[in-house]
Symmetry: C2
Subunit: 213 residues, 2 copies
């Protein structure tokens, strides 16, 4: 069955981005370091069209992230371009050949034509809420899973609505002290997490949970 | 060498106690559930003078907690009795035979005579700050480790001062949504954590870190 899931890296104090996010620091001050465990992997380098990198216990986690995924949903902040109406030239952070290679649905308040990129990625802009985005993404995924790419706010909305089936949290021993905290703002509708699997990688631990509505 | 360390259970959203702590809910609403993994263990039942309980991958973590520990430090909130001057009859949460069996140093602003209890536990009340408490605890521990029992505020003070050597975080898949967050308020002096070991238990993952100053 098609699952809605996400797989993100979180600091030990719960942040998925550091404080003071900007064009220069899209992941906030210190946030880049969250992804050190991933960037050093051969699987990551390959996805980004490069060679080299290492293979270790984290490699399987990186590979599973996009395994059987047919569509991606992300928040406006993750797509970038600042808040408010779209800057005409903004096409996301990922260049001409984004690493998704599938339809990506961007949550936004500002309508925009679909944006086809190289390598099979097309960005679609959804202005009528998370349930609409999920419905469109599920249709595009044609039975495969839908991955919420991020950021924290998008993930929180899907969690609070009880729509998420499975979660991977890659926890790194960083203390960012501020920024975007992943598991906040769930109100009284926090879903129930059930621990499925733990994988220890170098400098990171990967925690997989099933989410019950 | 004598280490300063702590071993606490944290919800996935970072809390070591839930919201609205009270005499009825000393760990806050929902906070009791943090320790389900521990309470079911034979090692826990034995420490509290009872029989029964299970043995699993978490048992070693529970045993390590007090292994080679010669003294405990805890905050006023963990000892209890409410804020302000001491209620004359308050002797802590643990009854006549507390499960420590060693000197315990309680951080407080309110002086009080040392309080000897059954089974080798004596509570000492320290009013001149964390470094003084650590110095007294180290002397009492006579070369063994010193354990910070909690709560969050006491742990944060020792972390921010760069005095902690080793940490065990037992992370359970609860979302408490409020309460006492462990890794907050470290300011710009957040220490560097290095992942040492990961142990998967049923419904809990035990993360051990070395802390660098």
């Amino acid at each position: 069955m098609s699952k809605l899931r996400f797989s993100v890296t979180m600091s030990l104090d719960g942040y998925v981005a550091g404080p003071n996010q900007s064009l220069k620091d899209p992941l906030g001050v210190g946030g880049e370091a969250l992804h050190g465990w991933a960037v050093e992997l051969a699987a990551f380098q390959e996805v980004h069209g490069k060679k080299g990198g290492v293979v270790n216990a984290s490699s399987a986690i990186m590979q599973e992230m996009f395994e059987n995924v047919g569509a991606v949903i992300m928040g406006r902040g993750m797509f970038g371009g600042g808040p408010g109406p779209w800057p005409p030239d903004w096409k996301g952070w990922w260049g001409k050949n984004p690493p998704f290679h599938m339809p990506v649905f961007v949550l936004t308040h500002h309508p925009r034509e679909a944006l086809p990129m190289g390598g099979g990625t097309t960005f679609h802009f959804v202005t009528d809420g998370i349930e609409s985005a999920l419905s469109k993404a599920r249709e595009a995924a044609a039975g495969k899973d839908v991955l919420i790419g991020g950021g924290a706010s998008a993930i929180q909305q899907f969690l609070a609505a009880g729509l998420v089936d499975e979660v991977n949290l890659s926890v790194v021993p960083l203390l960012l002290g501020g920024g975007e905290r992943l598991l906040d703002n769930l109100g009284d509708s926090a879903p129930h997490f059930e621990q499925m699997r733990v994988v220890e990688g170098p400098g990171v631990v990967h925690l997989r949970y099933r989410v019950a509505r």
